[in-house]
């Protein structure tokens, strides 16, 4: 099969974009990525988006965005996998290039969340859970993560302060990212002083509701030479994805992100490497407990030791397992269906050596994007050409 490389990235800052709509954000990110790649047309477009129908009453995003970006009559569709929509869209774009069907593919992830009332946004996010057996009972997405957080703390003896370290790390890194929603350093006390939204989960354990769009241009290693220098080419070395039971209650092991474990194993196998070869990790820290569970499921820590990596300072830029190098979901922000593409853009920055919070000599990076309460997960491994 053909070797896929990313040759261009583009994005908008994450935030509350009162003056911009979904199409404005998506088109801006997409055109930026095309300019970065030096391409003026693409063979197809994949849009990562979770809930545009609920948030802004707009579906058919393939047609909307390709039309408004002036891409002509190309094939264009939306890819949906809850909060992992962006990661899944990137992988669909890569598959199209690898298969030989399409030579130059654009992927854009977009979500416009702030046009909805907060309680409605809470409801739309819960559509990623099981409508009949979870949302019916009045559960929110935050609450499902709170149930896991309480269990994790009990099972392994961690405190709320221990988990708060993931938020502190994310903010420390986000403070250096001009595209992040929160560029403010915080302390453990900041997290502890924030109000409970679903005990024991506090406001600062959670990522914010936000708007944003990010895009990448994918082509083959051969074709890439027509557009960019080698330094700008980043190889998609491995990828995998998997699902797990949609309801948290139906998991045999409530503290194992089995879908992430399987997705990571597939990605490592395809890349021909192991977790020890990864220089940095953009994991899905929608909630602090998810950062810990993610590190465990992708093999960076043993079961129950994910939060130890934070306590030992190993998740910082100069640690052995740097995570959320540009702020993660917590500080960069989490426009749900766009997040997986933001992670990809940030990994490309690191590997090109262009990141504002650079991991020294980064050769290989891993992105992990979670949909639902661990029910739909993508893992992608990128490396320098």
């Amino acid at each position: 099969m053909r070797k896929p490389v990313i040759i261009g990235v583009g994005l908008t800052p994450v935030g509350e974009h009162w003056k911009l709509g979904l199409r404005d954000l998506a088109v801006e990110a997409l055109l930026n990525a095309m300019e970065d790649a030096g391409v003026d047309k693409v063979d197809s477009l994949y849009v990562g988006n979770m809930a545009s129908g609920s948030f802004v009453e707009q579906e058919n995003l393939g047609a909307l965005i390709a039309d408004w970006a002036g891409l002509g009559n190309i094939p264009a569709v939306k890819i949906e996998g809850a909060c992992a929509s962006g990661g899944a869209a990137v992988q669909e774009g890569v598959k199209a290039v690898m298969s030989g069907l399409e030579d130059v593919v654009a992927v854009v992830g977009v979500e416009k969340m702030t046009d909805a009332w907060p309680s409605d946004a809470t409801r739309y996010l819960a559509y990623a859970a099981d409508a009949e057996w979870e949302l019916f009972h009045g559960v929110s997405f935050v609450a499902l993560n709170a149930l896991a957080m309480r269990l994790y703390m009990k099972e392994y003896g961690y405190t709320e302060e221990d988990l708060a370290l993931f938020a502190v790390n994310a903010h420390a890194n986000g403070a250096k990212n001009p595209y992040a929603m929160f560029k403010k350093v915080i302390k453990v006390e900041t997290v502890m002083r924030s109000p409970y939204i679903a005990d024991p989960l506090k406001l600062f354990d959670a990522s914010p509701i936000a708007d944003g769009a990010a895009a990448v241009i994918i082509t083959t290693e051969e074709k890439a030479k027509e557009f960019v220098d080698k330094a700008k080419m980043i190889k998609v070395a491995g990828m995998g994805r998997a699902i797990d039971t949609i309801s948290l209650a139906n998991r045999k092991d409530l503290l194992l992100l089995k879908a992430a474990k399987i997705a990571a194993e597939r990605a490592y196998k395809m890349a021909g490497i192991g977790v020890e070869d990864i220089d940095f990790f953009e994991v899905h820290d929608a909630f602090t407990v998810m950062a810990a569970l993610s590190l465990e499921s992708i093999g960076a820590a043993e079961r129950g030791k994910g939060a130890m990596l934070a306590k030992e300072g190993q998740i910082a830029i100069d640690g052995d397992y740097p995570i959320q190098t540009l702020g993660g979901l917590k500080a960069r922000g989490h426009p749900v269906g766009a997040t997986g593409v933001y992670q990809t853009v940030e990994a490309v920055w690191q590997l090109r050596g262009e990141a504002p919070n650079q991991v020294p000599d980064a050769e290989v990076g891993l992105t992990q994007n979670i949909g639902g309460t661990g029910s739909n997960i993508t893992v992608t491994i990128l490396r320098r050409v």
Binding site: S119, E134, F136, H137, G138, V139, D199
Partner: protein, 135 residues
């Protein structure tokens, strides 16, 4: 938005939500809730109905302070993962309980309660909640 009024969507699940009837695999004996068309253990499609006792214990819980729209009425309210005595875990609200009393392993039993209403002219949804076991 957020105001589904289709009655059929709800009466379809009366068996499960009013009586806690789930599934049992005829092939391997695995019991599960809610009833599925395919056994999650062995893949058999021979599944019969199974009546749960309604008794269980609390595995984990949270207090919802920012509910999704439509559930503001009860705020704040506790939600728990309850391990039924037959094995499966079920997600439900806890009721008739002081949030301070909730603890790991607390014994609970199923009761039928109002889950949600859709305004003056709307339907009212009922279903299972769990309360501390009456001794």
């Amino acid at each position: 938005m957020g105001k589904p009024m289709q009655v059929a969507r709800y009466w379809r699940h009366f068996k499960e939500k009013y009586r806690l009837i789930g599934g049992k695999c005829k092939s391997c004996g695995h019991v599960h809730f809610p009833k599925r068309p395919v056994c999650p253990e062995c893949g058999s499609q021979e599944i019969e109905e199974f009546q749960f006792s309604g008794k269980g214990k609390v595995l984990s819980w949270t207090i919802i302070r920012n509910p999704p729209s439509g559930y503001e009425y009860y705020k704040p309210y506790p939600i728990a993962l309850v391990e039924l005595e037959e094995g499966p875990v079920i997600l439900a609200q806890l009721t008739d309980v002081d949030p301070e009393e909730i603890d790991f392993g607390m014994e609970v039993e199923m009761v039928t309660r109002k889950i949600r209403e859709f305004g003056e002219d709307g339907i009212i949804l009922y279903g299972y909640k769990f309360r501390p076991l009456l001794k």
